[in-house]
């Protein structure tokens, strides 16, 4: 049976602040929350629509190259997406795919944590890690 809440951390651990999504998942894993499933991946793909089945809510945690500091918390709704590449899919497009296949998707939010540098091999920046601290506090408050 699926956990009611799914949290997906998106990003590459080896690219500076792009690691914020996977780092969020690492920290949440240590908390061993009940009825919460945690996933991490480099990027979203169509099969994540299948992971949304039987969920009450979904949260996508990702680094954001621009936007509010320290983070943005926003509900995300199904929306179409187009790309010339197979290398990116937005949370909204995953929801839209789900909607076309199975009907109304679960309530979903994006936690966009502001990042600043994405250099290969670089550790996450101190400023981004501080943003992540605050973002996780918000996430836990939302889940409570």
């Amino acid at each position: 049976m699926s956990a009611a809440t799914l949290i997906v951390g998106i990003g590459n651990p080896s690219r500076g602040d792009d690691a914020l999504g996977p780092l969020a998942i690492e920290r949440l894993e240590a908390m061993a929350m009940a009825d919460v499933e945690l996933l991490t991946d480099f990027q979203l793909q169509v099969e994540y629509a299948l992971d949304l089945q039987d969920r009450r809510r979904v949260v996508f945690v990702d680094a954001a190259e621009s936007g509010p500091e320290p983070y943005a918390w926003a509900e995300v709704r199904p929306e179409q997406d187009t790309s010339y590449s197979s290398h990116e899919l937005s949370p909204a497009a995953v929801l839209h795919t789900y909607a076309q296949l199975y009907g109304t998707p679960p309530v979903a939010h994006v936690l966009a944590v502001r990042g600043y540098r994405y250099d290969l091999g670089a550790p996450p920046s101190p400023a981004a890690l501080a943003n992540l601290d605050q973002a996780i506090r918000r996430l836990l408050a939302e889940l409570a």
């Binding site: 991946d41 480099f42 179409q80 187009t82 590449s85 290398h87 994405y118």
Partner: protein
Amino acid sequence: MAFELETAEHPEKLRRVAIEPISRVEGHGKVTLLLDEDNHVKQARLHIVEFRGFEKFVQGRPYWEIPVMVQRLCGICPVSHHLAASKALDQIVGATHVSPTAEKIRRLMHYGQILQSHALHFFHLASPDLLFGFDSDVAKRNIVGVAADYPDLARQGILLRKYGQEVIRVTAGKRVHGTGSVPGGVNKHLTREERDALLKEAYQIIGWSRDAVHLVKRLFEQNLELYNEFGSFPAHTLNLIRADGAMDLYHGGLRARTMDGKTLFDHLDYNHYWDHVFEQVKPWSYMKFPYFRDLGPAEGWYRVGPLTRVSQCDFIPTPLADRERQDFIAFDAGHAAAATLGTHWARMIEMLHSAEMIKDLLHDDDVLAGDLVTTGERQGRGVGVIEAPRGTLIHHYRVDEHDQVIRANLIVSTTHNNQAMNESIRAVARKYLDGRELTEGLLNHIEVAIRAFDPCLSCATHALGKMPLRLELIDAEGRQIDRMVRAGDGTCSC
């Protein structure tokens, strides 16, 4: 050649067209079209990021970390890098031949990767163009449009991908960041339960894959002239081949042929790839341009990938896929097998082949038991080559006496195809660019050509909302006279 427009005479323009660092990290594509005095397209250039940074990144790391680390190159085909690196490091640990169990589990992992990547490419990326047409409403040209009008097809695409990922999970140990392949072999067998669960679905997967091949064939039949001609160009080819001439996506020798069918080399030991393939640097691109040394940089560029592999092998060693290969090669007197959009057809034949191979390997009890790791006399240099979903992938490492990587050279599929993609875009731009104004229709036609190759950008990086495609039109004086940007959400801006 229009390269002259950006050489020493106007060095400032070289800087102007370069991709800025932040874009290099995020990953994007940029196409510039250069016009002559008569407004004819003289040069089309696709600018894509390269992985040089990664080669430096792995220097100084202990060699046994590399198969896991290199997965961070690409979120779409991490298994290909995982296996190519493992094959190179087999040589470092002296494992000239890994055990039958290790090879079969690696192959299983690899065919799972090919299946899921090809399914994603076709159902998510290519089928909207093919099903709705290149000029159709942009709102429909995506997986959502397919799901709305072809719900069974969209569902099959997602389940095919999910199945491939499950094969990867049981062989690599995890859905992402797997650790299954190690220098000298693998670190786990399949359990009987895992094997049986995969086998239960294997026949359905083969059936859907075969349906997908037939779907592409029908699309070709319905649009014969367009499909044969669109973005097509003659090219030399490079691919791995088994000793008996069969398609082999995991291991073999290198086969190179010219565009008129002459063999340049065949069954070449890939440890000697550097004697035959060299990489040219061009000032306007971060990505190098590989070429056959014998033919030189101007004439020696080549194409890799599904179209090359299916058209250049002597046969496919699984019955259903080989039957489809024969149909493909014979179709319309061979035109489809030479067409850029024939890549989609070839890709589905490979997906069918992968599904058949997965079924056969799951029936082999070697994946349940047997030696996992082989070692031998330690070496300082290792080369691993594999046929990744998008084409030939080369990993080459040197390791010092302290077990640290001191040099790495990676030639990824997209780099092999660099000039070929440029040729395809050029062919499209010549036909569809009308005057000096960029249109959404032209942008999409260029996207269709790019999608046939599905180049790998700096894709292991992901940040919200960043993967635009930029199209720029530059006149004979080097001035930008029009530009258009497709944002990640599909919207266009000028």
